[in-house]
Amino acid sequence: MTDDAISNDLAVLATAHRRSLPPIAALRALAPAPAATGPAHPAVALLGAAGAYASRVGELASHAAVLAGALSVVALPWLYSVNLEDDDVPAWSQISVLQLAISIVVVALAARGLAAAIAARRFARAVATADDPIAAARGLAGRFDTASLALAIASRSAFAIVLGKLLFAIGFDARWAEWFGRWLWMGPIVEQTVVDAVVAAGAATVVGLGLGVAIARGRLRIRPFAWGAAGAALGVATVVVGTRWDVGTFTDTFVSGADPSHALRIAVTAGGALAVVLVATALAVAMRRRPPPAS
């Protein structure tokens, strides 16, 4: 009964729009080109090109800001801790919280910048599609595509690693209360997390930049399932290797100066960074993927 009603309603719906379809001449894409009536006004052309140019620059800057913000979350407190002669409690407490606040503000500003860049690009597109500067705008904007994509991948990967390290320090160590206490007092757990996160984020940045450039130049094709599976397998492998053989942390190398044989540690960190980049890229592409290709 319900199925009959649905079929009947759909049949009615099938005829619904055919009585009021817009004529094909009403399509904007088929409207006569402005060139037929004369060249575009130079001011409009300049505005369109400048808008697209500025939006691309803004987008690029916002990616860079996100990357800088993610790195600053871990890098700046660490740098301050190195510069201090001793881990004086009140000084470190104030500095770390201040730097964390600055980092959050930087990331927030970057997000705002990204939103503004998207809005600016829409504006530029609206202007540009109405006139000749579309080709010029694309030419200008194209130069930023490679760097923008590479930075986007790197910043997302670095962010994922920083968040992962912080979550690990809070949750998986099961010492979150102590962790918070030592965050203010700069204990070894925080120090280890900070140093490892800096190294891992740096590795992810390098890997992400390399992959991004390769993708932008068409030398690599993103296959979300394969990349995700490979990243997951690599991640499991690095965790197994890292825990089975106790490769230690980079704190030992960069802070304590001990344990010079860190080849395995570097391999594990690079592998972990590559795993995160692969999974992050696969997820990002899978979520943005248009199921039916446009051509």
Partner: protein, 188 residues
């Protein structure tokens, strides 16, 4: 560009009606559907040089429409968090005035509105499959070729879409909104 426009116009003539009707069927309102179609044709114009065989224009155009539709669905998700304050954030409702015209009976307008309200509760892939199969008369194999998936995948979408519409109808007849309408209920 002018030559591309002429080519697009020539290719578009035979499929224009079907394509714009499809865009309206997968959208929440007639105006949204028209906007979707305008955007799809603009994109088709920009990518027309990638179409090598004119005989494949119909599935190619529908792929573009579907692609634009998916993009708009994603944008619609984020629009929910933007307080416009004018009721345009999208509540999945269907305006019955879309179907009121001088040659429409109230019963037909109500039937069309009811069907569109049920369609609006479906996920985008099921809504597109239902629109193509049940409304536009495509075969399962044609739809499968369009999406480049298996026929069984399309049958599954159709079956799940039908089941969701059935649940919506039964819930509406009981006076309670279907779960899908409460949870999703969004389309651009």
């Amino acid at each position: 560009m002018e030559a591309a426009r002429d080519r697009l116009r020539r290719l578009l003539e035979p499929v224009h009606d079907k394509a714009v009707a499809f865009a309206r069927h997968v959208s929440r309102s007639r105006s949204d559907g028209d906007d979707l179609y305008q955007e799809a044709v603009l994109r088709a114009l920009a990518k027309l040089d990638t179409l090598r065989d004119d005989a494949l224009f119909r599935p190619w155009l529908f792929r573009v429409v579907i692609s634009v539709h998916r993009n708009r669905c994603r944008r619609a998700f984020w629009r929910r968090f933007v307080p416009f304050g004018d009721g345009t954030a999208g509540d999945g409702s269907v305006d019955e005035r879309d179907y009121r015209s001088h040659d429409w009976t109230p019963a037909a307008a109500h039937a069309a509105t009811r069907a569109r309200a049920a369609l609006a509760t479906l996920p985008a892939d099921q809504r597109e499959a239902i629109a193509l199969f049940e409304i536009e008369g495509w075969t399962v194999d044609e739809i499968a070729a369009l999406y480049e998936v298996s026929a069984s995948a399309i049958k599954s979408r159709l079956s799940r879409g039908r089941a969701a519409m059935r649940a919506h109808y039964e819930a509406a007849s009981n006076g309670t909104p279907a779960l899908g309408a409460r949870v999703r209920g969004q389309s651009p």
